[in-house]
């Protein structure tokens, strides 16, 4: 925390440059917050009027550029479906990796450092490269070989599908889950572990019964952040499963799907009449923003609490 005495010793004579530059950095901060506010206000203000129950619960026709008849139900369902499938894959792998890194790994061994470097790198890989990876690995390699092994007469797995989009996103969000879980695990006082071990529990029992339940809010944060990040991403699913239009909702993991983020992209770039589509576009953006942003805010609140706890422990 800041030193309390500093306030009293603050420069007493008026220093113009100090004042000027402090003001400048303050303005930079205000400007960034201003950008955020302008984006949010612009979207909420313009998108509000387009929202209705009909809009959210309607499956649109092929020509979906008219706000009076169209809806976003298949996009909401598609986005939710792909994100849920992703969570099933990414949470266990991410949590187990974090457990290894905090509970088992020696802090400076080569393998730990390589794992950490890999996690950091994975977080920095461009999302479009994940899309290429999904196409090159999941569809062209795994999917095509599955078709061959199962003797499918036509491509079932070896084509863009919801499962491949979800797996691609799972790889992309792995670092998010790992980092959040690690933070949560570190926030647990070592005394708890020691007490459990002293009572005769094994290390695994300690982790499963004492450490993990304590870390649950942190793991939840990781999951929510991953979901929120994945729900808004479009680039990785472009080649791995998203469809421009589907007449029905996806009901199997090998189906293609419509997606909110991709739909926003389609509405904003491929509309025949930009002025007419604008209210529809704003309403769709608002739905997307509410879904991703609400999750994000929840995650930030939980995370702030975890951090406070961590700081209290020193």
């Amino acid at each position: 925390m800041s030193a309390p005495q500093a306030k009293h010793f603050r420069a007493e004579r008026f220093d113009f440059w100090s004042f000027f530059f402090s003001g400048l950095t303050g303005l930079a901060t205000l400007f960034i917050i201003g950008i955020l506010a302008v984006i949010l206000v612009n979207i909420v203000y313009n998108g509000w009027s387009g929202l209705s129950w009909h809009f959210i619960s309607t499956i649109p026709q092929k020509d979906f550029f008219d706000i009076k008849t169209t809806g976003v139900l298949p996009m909401i369902v598609g986005t939710a479906f792909r994100v849920i499938v992703m969570t099933i894959f990414v949470i266990p792998v991410g949590v187990i990796t974090a457990i290894y890194l905090t509970e088992y790994a020696a802090n400076n061994s080569i393998i730990t450092r390589i794992i950490r470097a890999a996690v950091n790198n994975l977080a920095g890989v461009p999302s479009i490269v994940f899309g290429l990876f999904g196409l090159g690995f999941f569809i062209n390699f795994v999917g095509k070989n599955m078709d061959k092994l199962l003797h499918n007469p036509s491509a079932v797995w070896g084509q863009p599908a919801l499962i491949w989009a979800s797996l691609t996103l799972a790889v992309m969000t792995l670092p998010v889950v790992i980092v959040a879980t690690e933070e949560a695990l570190k926030a647990i006082p070592p005394g708890l572990r020691e007490a459990s071990l002293a009572l005769g529990a094994t290390k695994l029992e300690t982790i499963l019964r004492v450490v993990l339940p304590q870390a649950l809010p942190g793991i939840l944060t990781g999951g929510i952040l991953a979901v929120s990040r994945a729900a808004g991403e479009v680039a990785p699913i472009l080649f791995t499963g998203v469809a421009y239009y589907m007449a029905s909702l996806p009901h199997h993991v090998t189906d293609q799907f419509m997606d909110l983020g991709y739909h926003v992209f389609v509405l904003s770039t491929q509309s025949p009449n930009i002025e007419q589509t604008r209210p529809l576009l704003y309403a769709t953006v608002l739905v997307l923003l509410v879904l991703t942003f609400a999750l994000n805010i929840v995650a930030i609140i939980i995370r702030a609490r975890v951090r406070k706890k961590l700081r209290a422990l020193g």
Binding site: S18, T25, G136
Partner: protein, 395 residues
């Protein structure tokens, strides 16, 4: 536990499986399982590189051929050529070549001849039509194409003669990225200095998560905002010709990069030991003098790393640039359009034939992008690691 030897005996059981109440095979198995799963992050990085590069290998080794007019081999002369030659001629992989029957090969050869017969008359005598445009020379150097006044770098993957010069894409990526960083770096670092050094704790506690929220906005949403609101507003200020251009894209990209640079720089500035600040303040320096002359120099490696990582994030951003500008124009004017590598991949993959030259070149661009971000990540992490170690050592 009584003696050393007993301890050693207990810790080194068969295959590492201990005896006693805390030694169960299930526990041992679970530990190994946890270790194996934790290797998945490494596996993923390797797989990404392998499978993105794998699709691009033929381009790297000059095995793709896009020449419109190619010499043909008459069907009757099949046996005069070696299998390796035929395999390359028919664009087959070695496995495909082995599994395909002789009749099919003959059919494929006939297909090649039919294909050549279909080439429009006006291309027959065009020297450009004989060029393999995926050759490294044509990927990187300017070429005097038929109908152009001077040698030019052209990316034009459609039409009869497909031109794949990569330089316009590199230049476009660099241009948009630099505009974005030029805008984002001062703002983000200024805000980081303010939040970590000058603001009161209560302001800091609220401002920090708010700026982090900016990273929670999906990039398509920023793209929509740039496309509709920013493009028009900036046009009213600067009166440029092309409404959607590299400048608008760069600014919008800046929004996406600001939270990345901010949070790393803020972290670096906060981790400068409090003793430094307190000593400076005690000697009579003002808050700003302390921040500018003491804290910032001490945290400079971290701030540099933040910029490098921001750069990595910026060259990889796809949707914003895809929505805001797309035409590949080779120019250094910030108000001209530009096309980035990511945009090219996203926009053209759908129309590229699976396994064709265009498809392979897009994968090669992806591999280059991966390599570029890999390097910038490594530099950034290395610098941060060293910086933290140094601070801890001094403390």
């Amino acid at each position: 536990m009584s003696s050393n030897t007993e301890q050693r005996r207990r810790s080194a059981g068969w295959l590492g499986i201990h005896r006693g109440h805390q030694a169960r095979p299930a526990e041992w198995l679970a530990e190994k399982f946890i270790f194996l799963v934790s290797l998945s992050a490494i596996a993923m990085v390797l797989l990404i590189f392998l499978f993105v590069a794998r699709e691009a290998i033929p381009v790297f080794f000059g095995e793709t051929n896009t020449a419109l007019v190619q010499p043909t081999i008459p069907v009757a002369e099949m046996d005069k050529h070696s299998p390796a030659e035929l395999q390359r001629y028919l664009d087959l992989t070695p496995e495909q070549f082995k599994s395909v029957s002789r009749e099919t090969k003959l059919e494929l050869m006939q297909g090649k001849i039919d294909e050549q017969n279909e080439v429009p008359e006006n291309f027959r005598n065009d020297p450009d039509a004989r060029i393999n445009t995926t050759d490294w020379k044509y990927l990187l150097q300017a070429h005097q194409w038929n109908g152009y006044d001077q040698p030019e770098h052209i990316w034009q993957p459609v039409g009869q003669i497909k031109k794949f010069n990569l330089l316009p894409l590199f230049a476009g990526t660099l241009k948009i990225t630099l505009i974005g960083l030029f805008f984002a770096v001062p703002l983000a670092i200024g805000a980081a200095i303010y939040v970590s050094q000058l603001a009161r704790p209560r302001v800091r506690e609220t401002v920090k998560p708010v700026i982090e929220m900016l990273s929670g906005i999906p990039s398509v949403v920023v793209g929509v905002f740039a496309l509709i609101v920013m493009a028009s507003a900036l046009q009213n200020i600067f009166h440029y010709q092309t409404r959607l251009n590299a400048f608008v894209a760069g600014l919008a990209l800046g929004f996406a990069v600001i939270p990345v640079i901010f949070s790393i720089a803020e972290d670096a500035l906060t981790s400068v030991p409090r003793a430094y600040t307190q000593a400076a303040l005690a000697l009579g320096a003002s808050r700003w003098q302390t921040a500018w002359q003491i804290v910032l120099p001490a945290a400079l490696p971290g701030v540099f790393a933040a910029t490098v990582l921001g750069f990595g994030r910026a060259i990889g951003e796809t949707m914003i640039v895809l929505m805001v500008c797309s035409a590949s124009v080779m120019s250094w004017n910030v108000f001209d359009s530009a096309r980035s590598i990511t945009t090219t991949i996203a926009a053209e993959m759908a129309e590229a034939v699976n396994g064709g030259p265009h498809y392979r070149i897009l994968f090669m661009l992806g591999a280059l992008l991966f390599a570029a971000t890999f390097v910038s990540n490594m530099i950034g992490d290395f610098v941060i690691h060293r910086f933290k170690n140094k601070l801890e050592g001094k403390r």
